[in-house]
Symmetry: C2
Subunit: 319 residues, 2 copies
């Protein structure tokens, strides 16, 4: 079904499709021809910041591409919220069946990761090279990262479970590591602190994944309930909670976020790393074709890395 027709027409077509074989066939044939002459068109679809307002303006059905799918996902998300972005809905938007999408993305999780990285292009990395105290600049970037995620907390949730490693995410990591380096934080410490900072920012954004639309109907009730519980708790059984009362919930998220960043940065500098972190270099190493980094000794191969993760996956349960 061609995208340049208005929504009403498209809906009508959807409803008729099962009963009006002639109309359906015309469109199917049309789509096939468009496809056959390979009239590729990916300008408007891939340039997501200023996507076309109306579908009528698009001259032809764009051929499916990964970029086009991601751009359409971003558009749909901005327009209707992440929870409305489903494979089926997305396919409808692209005038195809859901199965077609799986040619370009492995699954929903991969699509989310790709979309998040796309969005991460909006993070302001300019403080990385500007003047001023390195800490301020670090926090400015982290705050920018958090604001981007704040708009789509559902994506933050995804990012927590499957950390994206797209190009924008890598640029963010590089900028943050540069500032930590500038601040004189030793590399291993910087690596761990980086993780803490991004996890904190991401989790803070993810916390706000209750309702995407403007108002917060459910969240409001939750908050009331929470405040009530904290206020009505018995001082006999829970003296410390009662003494704090609603002060437990005090502070704007902005203040808490800023304080959290400061706490992590200050704490990381004062807390010694465990001695376990001694490199313990491994003889076997990967191909290293791209990497002429100066620390070949510490670079483990994939097998070793897997071992490390294996330990990570089970370690905490024994604690």
């Amino acid at each position: 079904m061609p995208p340049w027709l208005g929504a009403g027409v498209r809906r009508g077509w959807e409803e008729r499709r099962a009963t009006n074989a002639f109309v359906a066939n015309v469109f199917v044939a049309n789509a096939f021809v468009t496809n056959a002459i390979d009239c590729r068109y990916d300008g408007a679809m891939t340039a997501h910041p200023t996507a076309p307002r109306s579908r009528r303006e698009r001259p032809a059905k764009p051929a499916l591409t990964r970029e086009g799918i991601i751009a359409t996902t971003v558009d749909l998300m901005r327009a209707e919220g992440l929870e409305r972005v489903t494979m089926r809905r997305l396919a409808k938007e692209l005038d195809t069946g859901p199965a077609s999408l799986y040619v370009y993305v492995r699954n929903m999780a991969e699509l989310h990761a790709a979309v998040l990285d796309e969005l991460l292009g909006a993070v302001d990395l300019s403080p990385a090279t500007s003047d001023g105290e390195w800490r301020d600049r670090l926090v400015r970037i982290l705050t920018s990262y958090t604001s981007v995620l704040f708009e789509y907390p559902g994506l933050a949730q995804s990012a927590l479970v499957a950390r994206p490693f797209g190009k924008h995410y890598l640029k963010l990591l590089e900028a943050l590591l540069a500032l930590l380096d500038e601040g004189g934080i030793e590399p291993d410490r910087a690596a761990w602190l980086l993780d803490l900072l991004l996890q904190f920012a991401t989790a803070t954004a993810a916390e706000h994944a209750h309702r995407a639309p403007g108002d917060t109907p459910q969240s409001e009730a939750d908050w009331q309930a929470l405040a009530t519980v904290v206020r009505d708790v018995s001082p006999r059984t829970h003296p410390h909670i009662a003494a704090l009362g609603t002060r437990l919930l005090s502070g704007s998220p902005k203040d808490r976020l800023a304080w959290g960043f400061d706490v992590l940065i200050a704490g990381a500098r004062h807390t010694p790393l465990p001695e376990v972190l001694a490199p313990s270099p491994v003889d076997t190493r990967g191909a290293g074709e791209t990497g002429s980094a100066g620390d070949a000794g510490e670079t483990g191969n994939a097998g070793d890395t897997r071992g490390t993760r294996g330990a990570r996956a089970t370690g905490a349960t024994e604690g």
Copy 2:
């Protein structure tokens, strides 16, 4: 369908139910009678730590109760993982239709919260009153909390979005606040640090929500991909990432978790709170029937609290 029949029989019954009206009617009648004489039975179902091995041993279909539903959810989760716990599956397990569950739980999110609180009963709070350094004891409790969540990372994800305020969660808060108090942390700082510590623990557990079953098939591939990206990044465009290499991913989760707790505790003591935190007491106050806490001045009413949350909900986006 009575729960004391084995799985094979039950499956057979499921398949026959549409065609064999007689058998179905016998069971329906049976269930109705059980219900009518109000043969309440909630011992084995509510005591989740030692739920009965076999459904055969249960003498009768338990009447639906909130506790029974939660207990069954926990059982089902332990047996098949959180992702298999759906309203429909749960209803099947309780020999009813999904609609019946909504008499006792508002929705899936509420059920998750209730189940999480149930699980939180397993957190070891004994360090709260034991001997030793307050910090060690604090970290021991937090580590116990994290291990419990580690077993069901999906629940940790839920907890991040909708913080539970069940009785076990409140006991946990009380124990942690007592230790922070013992450590001489001032109340407002303790409140914020508490949040940071629990958020960190919860987010760390939530990160592991990829696959619930024993092996980690998808996670393994993700990890490989991630290690490859970090190793193969160009030292020209990303010098700091390249210099760190796989050291970015070093350390066991156990070590990272312990370090994180230490960082937060140390950092919180060295980082001043924003002056905004001045109580600014409000004249209007809530009913306060239960609360004879000594800090009535700082206890805001629901309206004020709502205002605070409103600020929290939008503040960070402007940062």
